[in-house]
């Protein structure tokens, strides 16, 4: 009786041990996946800067039509996929690199796509280029430096980096316009990144906020009889 009790306890102990080892194994695996998803998301961001190739496409009738239709189709497809995922038609686990809070709302890649689409179709490239650069590089730079240096320093670095992007994109404008645009644009980027909204992702805000601010500035100056836009940065092939 005593012997059988001991073996039963031992078996229970062993099973518990095995279960714990199994759980730890799964957790380690999940952590590894999370780490990879982290860099995957970062690289996806920087990859998006190559969408600027759009402005290199030649200025021909049928290509110009494609420049409007193709981005709309791509974003529409993304919207359909996201709609299906949120409704439950597609398993959340099938999407690599999604965050937990994206389970019941559209994922950030859709917001990013919508932002780029709006910039391509409605804004001049002088405004769109620095905004896309900020979404592609400033966002991951802030994310990484926040981890190592803290929130305040990360935002400071983000502000300086955004300032550089606006500086590079508007370097042919007059000095006072350059100063104004850089400060306004970088502030817009920072607010877009820092202000977290429940249903609107920062990937959209970081692009749209500086773009709208610069559009207002540009149109305001045009109303005053001054065109502040510098020459185009990218000329078609």
């Amino acid at each position: 009786m005593f012997f059988s009790e001991m073996t039963a306890r031992d078996t229970l102990k062993r099973t518990k041990q095995k279960m714990t080892e199994y759980q730890i194994g799964i957790l380690e695996q999940l952590n590894a996946i999370e780490v990879d998803a982290h860099w995957f998301r970062r690289v996806f961001h920087t990859f998006a800067a190559s969408f600027l190739f759009y402005y290199l496409l030649p200025d021909e009738k049928w290509i110009n039509l494609g420049k409007i239709v193709l981005p709309i189709i791509i974003v529409a497809c993304m919207a359909v996929v996201e709609y299906q995922r949120i409704r439950g038609g597609l398993d959340h686990h099938r999407f690599f690199g999604l965050r937990n809070y994206e389970k019941k709302r559209p994922a950030s890649y859709l917001y990013f796509g919508i932002g780029v689409l709006v910039l391509f179709l409605l804004f001049p490239q002088q405004i769109a280029i620095p905004c896309i650069l900020c979404a592609s590089f400033t966002d991951p730079i802030i994310g990484e430096s926040r981890y190592y240096l803290g929130k305040k320093r990360a935002y400071l670095i983000g502000f300086v980096v955004s300032l550089c992007f606006f500086l590079v994109s508007w370097y042919r404008a007059d000095w006072w316009i350059l100063l104004l645009v850089c400060l306004l644009g970088a502030t817009g980027v920072l607010i877009g990144e820092a202000k977290k909204l429940r249903f609107v992702d920062d990937d959209l805000m970081i692009q749209m906020l500086p773009a709208i601010l610069l559009l207002l500035l540009w149109q305001g100056c045009v109303a005053l009889g001054v065109n502040i836009l510098p020459p185009k940065m990218i000329l078609p092939l």
Partner: protein, 86 residues
Amino acid sequence: MKTSTNRRNESAQKLLLRLELWFAPLLLVVPLIVSLVFLGDWYVKGFIGRSASYDGELFLGLLLLIGNLLFDIPFLRSLRMQKKKQ
């Protein structure tokens, strides 16, 4: 029931990791190609053609190249780590 769901999720995660590996060349190569196109266009029309209008493409090309390389290296490192773990 629960264990079968866990297993399904686990295998889905493993499959996604493989998908990530398939995606990697695209994520790494496309920005590099685009940056080289920008730099090439600047070299042909801006540098040889002596036109300052293409200087913006030089800046963008360099920015794309350096910016992407900075993030590609840790990404590749994480992929290598993952392969080693597997």
